[in-house]
């Protein structure tokens, strides 16, 4: 009997009954994990993009202490940084759905009834709050000399912001931003709690469908690690390019060589 089984059947049996992790089952469902990864990446990067764009004017308003806006934005960032993302998501998803008025409003059927939009809104507002605050910090720590030089060069406040303050602040905020990107990715697992089939959602689906303990989680984990690795590498490259002036000189020989010329 043993000999009649094909290698594939043997592998399947081994995977199901003996291996600590049913890797054949995971392999069979790998396409679902890629679909889940796509949902995760979409939500994460759309939230980062929109949230990032929202954060720039808010950070400028905060750093320049614009009279009415500053306290309002402070309240907003305090609320979103001071509460868990899960609670914020539940509020948008389950909370708003409780109200008849919301369900009958024009926003309901295309946007708020859809878990994807609820999650995107929550993630965007969350990451915008965090980004606003550390971008504000970066703007406030712009070296005085840079500002004085641009004033002396006769730049208007807008031109100064656009050409000197923001590029300089972005550079200083870059290392902190890589953390924010990774935190947002990690936070995106919350999508699976409101029925979205993101990476973790697919992992939980697999566990639920086949009554498994951890195959779905382990597979999702490997996907997250791969994504984080790509993000880290991308930021390393960006830092190498944009923070070049902060790195120590590469080789003393080169310096010595150029000095003798």
């Amino acid at each position: 009997m043993e000999a009649e089984r094909t290698f594939w059947e043997y592998l399947r049996d081994f995977s199901e009954n003996q291996a600590p992790l049913d890797f054949v089952l995971v392999y069979d469902n790998l396409d679902k994990f890629f679909e889940g990864a796509l949902v995760t990446l979409q939500l994460t990067f759309l939230a980062l993009l929109i949230g990032g764009l929202m954060a720039i004017p808010m950070a400028l308003a905060r750093a320049n202490k614009v009279s009415v806006l500053n306290p309002i934005i402070w309240c907003y960032t305090y609320a979103f940084r001071g509460t868990p993302l899960l609670v914020q998501t539940y509020l948008f998803y389950f909370g708003l759905g409780q109200f008849e008025a919301v369900r009958e409003s024009f926003l309901w059927s295309p946007i708020l009834s859809d878990p994807w939009w609820c999650v995107l809104i929550a993630f965007t507002l969350n990451t915008a709050a965090y980004t606003t605050e550390f971008l504000r910090g970066a703007i406030e720590t712009t070296p005085r000399g840079e500002i004085e030089a641009s004033v002396a060069a006769g730049m208007s406040p807008w031109l100064r912001t656009r050409l000197v303050v923001l590029p300089s602040a972005f550079r200083r905020a870059l290392p902190a931003y890589s953390n924010e990107v990774i935190f947002t990715l990690h936070g995106s697992v919350i999508a699976s709690t409101v029925t979205l089939q993101d990476l973790l959602g697919v992992g939980r689906w697999l566990n639920g469908r086949y009554y498994l303990a951890y195959e779905g989680f382990v597979t999702a984990m490997l996907f997250y690690m791969a994504i984080v690795l790509m993000i880290t590498v991308a930021f390393k490259l960006a830092e190498k390019r944009y923070l070049k002036h902060l790195r120590p000189r590469e080789s003393t020989e080169e310096t010595a060589a150029s000095a003798t010329v």
Binding site: G97, S113, G201, N207, G208, R209, Y211, A213
Partner: protein
Amino acid sequence: MKLTKTLVASALTAATLIAGGMASAETLRLGVEGAYPPFSKKEADGSLSGFDIDIAKALCAELERECELVEQEWDGMIPALLANKYDAIVASMSITEDRKKKVDFTNKYYDTPTRFIAKEGAQFELTKEGTAGVKIGLLRGTTMQCYVEKHFPDADIKLYNTQEDVFADLVAGRLDMQVNNTLQAIDGFLNTDQGQGFAFLGGNLDDVACLGEGTGIAVRKGDSLTAELNAAIEAIRADGTYKAINDKYFAIDIYGK
């Protein structure tokens, strides 16, 4: 060398025996859920109540064992049993072939049908074509997931962590229909304020392969607890304890045939 090996082996055996002896005197830990009324629900003070909870307590009394109820969310029920977080699951779990690959089951302790629920007067045909694109909500990791994915693969299936969330989204209009145990649906939803305007759709579902052969108690494979629990279920059936619990929650006998 040989002597050392023998010594180590006998020491290990002794240790196992002692550990085994201690285990049997330990409290029996039963995994239960808390969001599936009237089978299990959480009271305002955090305590658990419901049919499953009362059955679990009655079985403990019958076995004359100290018991601890361990609360666990549904989709982690079997994994937590396998990870030794508790020794048996008393949480309205249907006995199915798929689950039997992972755990042993006692005989059934109740058996009730499964049905769909939708808005009153909704016209959905329960066929593969009729459910294409229809939003169906259900609890993740249940027999219903197996049934719906098998029979209505083109439906837009939404998986939830708790049954209460499924009902919330059905009311909110994010779902066209939901599917679960009929008794749970009647007491946990249709007879509540939330469930007004909703009704059963179609008849009782029929697919033993997915839906199983009644509701049993799951135990780790090969555990002698299965036989003990079977005897205990029979005993509480015979001495009227089961009937008393049944009648506390339901107007009909839910044990089935």
